[in-house]
């Protein structure tokens, strides 16, 4: 709004020259910012600026690929990184472009909105004197009086905005149609702003997280960030205010084609809503069949099934007869065969001496094949759990669990192996039920394999807003591209005896859209009872050339 103020304020007299200069500068800057040419340049910049987001690895999508890029191109990667090329859509220069574009859009569209509102109330433009100058025009003498001729034109132009004027013996009708074109155009552009606002709201107040849950009764509750394996918080989300709900995964079933291509994933889950939890109904679970493309939608949160995998179960019988069972998810390393790798870690029970404990921790690491190839080198030939086998190393020593550093649940700390604090004590291929005995009498049994699923929980308060504005945008776009703004004029002059009327008609398309010619031809055929060409060429190139 400041714009119009600046633009319409009368030049201040007696003020300092510097202030005038500043005003002029502001005014010129604003004018050029809101010009179509600037919008065009900003659109190009936006397209060019978005491209590296597709061509370079992005942190938001895949950190591993970014790291790989740093390894492959050590010289240029840090430079690109400093310029924000690995986070293009969070980069300040990207934001600058689209914000400038939005400002330019507002500056262009708001005045046009007022102008259009004014236009809607204004009468159609008066009839031009010389019809022959119009791109479409025709003349004929009708065998009816001027009143009947006017009535015929009025009847044909029923849905047009019309204005009739008398001038001497003749009368003119000017008409205009297609106001919805500009309305659609404005709707489209204003919806873009709404879309951006909704998008921004999602980035501020939305969050998403991933969590792996064992598929035989494993539970997850959305009560805090700590429950997640990874979490992406919106800028205004600190994780203290999540909508609480709980999930329990009862079963998971995957089916595959004979060639190993997955056919369906289905998880039977139960859930408890916020209301259930508040009311204390903690024993009841509402069932839901969770599948890909069929998320669970709960009070503004959504739960997705995004991956699955296997968790081998091992039982360790220590020399003193105590047993420990470990069941930890292993990570699929081959997306087709679901060959998985991981590390299941054990603390020896009943050892209080810190030093001794740190030499007798156990880890079982290696590969799990859901359908084993058999033979000495185990690999997987099919993703379903048909014929599982593990190929594992048993490591003993200090796992580094007390170092205070977080470590991957899928791996052991390689530095402990390198330093000799963690030593391999056995290597074996096991099928369920088989066991190995270590040198100290510890027995490790591979019991069986369980399944896990990875869930994505998403919360985006802006997405409904975005959808509404996206639909409005589409409606506006459709209107503005399909409707033609066009004008039509007629002058009716009675012949001397008053029984016949000379009717001149003319038409002009106000928009850059050829094709008024056809409609004008129909009008002419109907109004003047003639159908041959008479100065008005079908689909005339003149229409495309200069109006709009």
């Amino acid at each position: 709004m400041a714009s119009t103020e600046i633009a319409t304020r009368p030049p201040e007299t007696g003020d300092s020259r510097a202030q005038n200069g500043l005003l002029a500068l502001l005014r010129n800057a604003w004018r050029s910012l809101t010009s179509m040419r600037t919008a065009l340049i900003l659109l190009f910049l936006l397209a060019v600026a978005a491209l590296p987001g597709a061509l370079l690895p992005q942190r938001s999508l895949n950190q591993r690929l970014v790291d790989q890029y740093f390894t492959d191109y050590p010289a240029i990667a840090p430079v690109l990184d400093r310029l924000g090329f690995f986070d293009v859509f969070a980069a300040p220069w990207f934001a600058a472009i689209y914000l400038l574009l939005m400002v330019s859009l507002v500056g262009c569209v708001l005045p046009r909105t007022f102008e259009h509102a004014k236009n809607l109330r204004a009468a159609p433009v008066v009839t031009p004197r010389n019809f022959a100058r119009l791109p479409h025009h025709a003349t004929a003498t009708l065998d009816v009086g001027p009143d009947e001729a006017a009535e015929r034109i009025r009847g044909r132009l029923r849905r047009w905005r019309r204005l009739e004027t008398e001038a001497g013996s003749s009368r003119t009708i000017s008409a205009e149609k297609g106001y919805l074109r500009e309305a659609g155009n404005l709707l489209f552009h204003l919806s873009l702003i709404g879309l951006l606002v909704g998008f921004g709201a999602g980035k501020l107040y939305g969050y998403g997280g991933q969590v792996i849950v064992l598929a035989d009764g494993g539970q997850f509750c959305n009560t805090g960030i700590l429950g997640y394996d990874s979490f992406q918080a919106g800028l205004r989300v600190d994780g203290t205010d999540l909508t609480p709900f709980c999930l329990r995964v009862d079963d998971f079933e995957a089916t595959y084609l004979p060639d190993g291509q997955p056919e369906s994933y289905r998880a039977a889950i139960g859930y408890q809503t916020t209301d259930d939890l508040n009311a204390g109904r903690v024993d009841q679970w509402r069932p839901y069949p969770l599948a890909v493309n069929s998320p669970l939608r709960l009070d503004g949160s959504r739960v997705y099934l995004i991956n699955h995998g296997y968790a081998p179960r091992f039982t360790v019988t220590f020399p003193n007869g105590q047993k420990r069972t470990g069941e930890v998810q292993w990570q699929p390393v081959d997306a087709t065969t679901y060959l998985s790798q991981g590390a299941t870690k054990f603390e020896p029970p009943g050892i209080t001496d810190e030093q001794k404990r740190r030499t007798s921790q156990l880890a079982i690491t290696g590969l799990l094949a859901p359908t084993s190839s058999g033979g000495k080198v185990v690999t997987s030939v099919y993703p379903a759990l048909r014929d599982p086998e593990v190929a594992v190393d048993v490591l003993r020593g200090d796992l580094g669990l007390d170092d205070g550093r977080g470590q991957s649940i899928f791996q052991v700390d390689q530095s402990k192996i390198d330093s000799g604090q963690l030593v391999r004590v056995a290597r074996a291929n096991l099928v369920p039920g088989q066991s190995i005995t270590l040198d100290d009498g510890t027995i490790i049994t591979f019991d069986d394999v369980r399944q896990w699923i990875a869930l994505q929980i998403s919360h985006d308060p802006g997405q409904d807003v975005v959808l509404v504005f996206a639909v409005l945008m589409l409606v506006g776009l459709g209107l503005s591209l399909s409707i033609r703004r066009r004008r039509f004029w007629a002058r009716l002059t009675p012949t001397e005896d008053g029984t016949r009327t000379v009717v001149e008609i003319g038409g002009l398309a106000r928009t850059d859209r050829a094709g008024y010619g056809e409609e004008f031809d129909r009008l002419r055929a109907h109004l003047l009872n003639i159908s041959d060409t008479d100065g008005s060429d079908v689909d005339g190139p003149i229409t495309a050339a200069k109006d709009g």
């Binding site: 919008a39 065009l40 050829a514 190139p541």
Partner: protein, 309 residues
């Protein structure tokens, strides 16, 4: 039964490619005959369609060019029918909507382009010489589709089992196919204006007609493309947990959308209306093609199912 259907589908596809190649040869011959005739028979009588070749001296050579062109168009229609039949039998063989991998996608885009072209031709028969240049990208794409991108008829992975596949991918396919014709028309417009290759360019419709052809198809295809992106966002929300995540495919779709938006703005900006706008249109189609092939085949992302490993 289903494998037989799949086999028929493949044969129909090959048949369509063969017919399109033959149609292109005829369109090419149309140019050649016209050019060789021009020197001899400038201003020869109007085309006489039923004339026989039994009296070679009297036959206006222009009519032979005309006949070749018409035969070419007839073959394009035949090719479109074969390609449509190939797509339908593919869907029956796989027992799903036949837009599940890059091969099927490419095939359908080409069908959309050819059908759009035939509709244009029906409304303005004078633009027939453009046909040669519409067929060129179609044949290249079909060839790539039938060789590099080919995947046997099979069910699709769980992420693609959704009715949004029908909505989103069909809309993208039709929009991409429709945008191919304006891309070609804008290139020819630029060629016509540049004054080069006059032997070919003189046969083309006037620059004005080409420009209008490009604009008219673009303003039909652009809202459809917008709809396709919105439908894709709705599907992404249901399948991946977010409606927009700047996945490479999404990013380039956004880039292409912005370029077409720039085209529409350029059409309304003084000094940009004709030449520069045509370049923008060509850039837009380049972005669409880039998104279709490069992103799926080279850059990894959520959209790289495609049956290419």
């Amino acid at each position: 039964m289903l494998t037989e259907l799949a086999l028929y589908s493949d044969r129909l596809f090959m048949g369509a490619v063969g017919v399109f190649v033959f149609a292109m040869v005829l369109h090419g011959a149309e140019y050649a005959v016209h050019r060789s005739a021009k020197a001899v028979l400038v201003g020869a009588g109007g085309p006489a369609l039923d004339e026989h070749e039994s009296h070679p001296e009297g036959t206006p050579v222009r009519s032979r060019s005309e006949r070749l062109g018409r035969m070419g168009v007839a073959l394009v229609v035949l090719g479109a029918v074969l390609l449509a039949a190939s797509i339908v039998t593919r869907g029956l063989a796989a027992q799903r909507w036949p837009l599940g991998n890059m091969y099927e996608f490419t095939s359908a885009i080409c069908l959309a382009a050819v059908v759009a072209w035939l509709v244009v031709l029906r409304r303005s028969p004078a633009s027939r010489p453009v046909g040669l240049f519409v067929l060129l990208p179609v044949i290249i794409l079909l060839f790539l589709g039938g060789t590099v991108l080919y995947a046997p008829a099979a069910p699709v992975m769980p992420a693609l089992q959704s009715y949004w596949l029908v909505v989103h991918v069909t809309a993208v396919t039709i929009a991409s196919g429709l945008l191919m014709v304006p891309g070609v028309a804008s290139l020819l417009f630029l060629l016509r204006r540049s004054g080069r290759l006059t032997g070919v360019a003189d046969r083309l419709p006037s620059a004005d007609v080409l420009d209008r052809l490009a604009y008219r198809l673009t303003i039909i295809a652009f809202p459809l493309y917008t709809f396709a992106i919105i439908a894709g966002a709705i599907w992404a929300e249901a399948a991946w947990g977010r409606f927009w995540g700047w996945d490479p495919k999404e990013t380039v779709a956004f880039v292409a959308w912005v370029i077409y938006a720039a085209y529409l703005h350029a059409r309304a900006t003084a000094g940009w209306r004709s030449g520069p706008a045509a370049w923008v249109n060509v850039a837009g189609f380049a972005a669409v093609i880039f998104n279709l092939f490069f992103i799926n085949m080279v850059v990894a992302g959520l959209h790289s199912y495609a049956g290419l490993g």
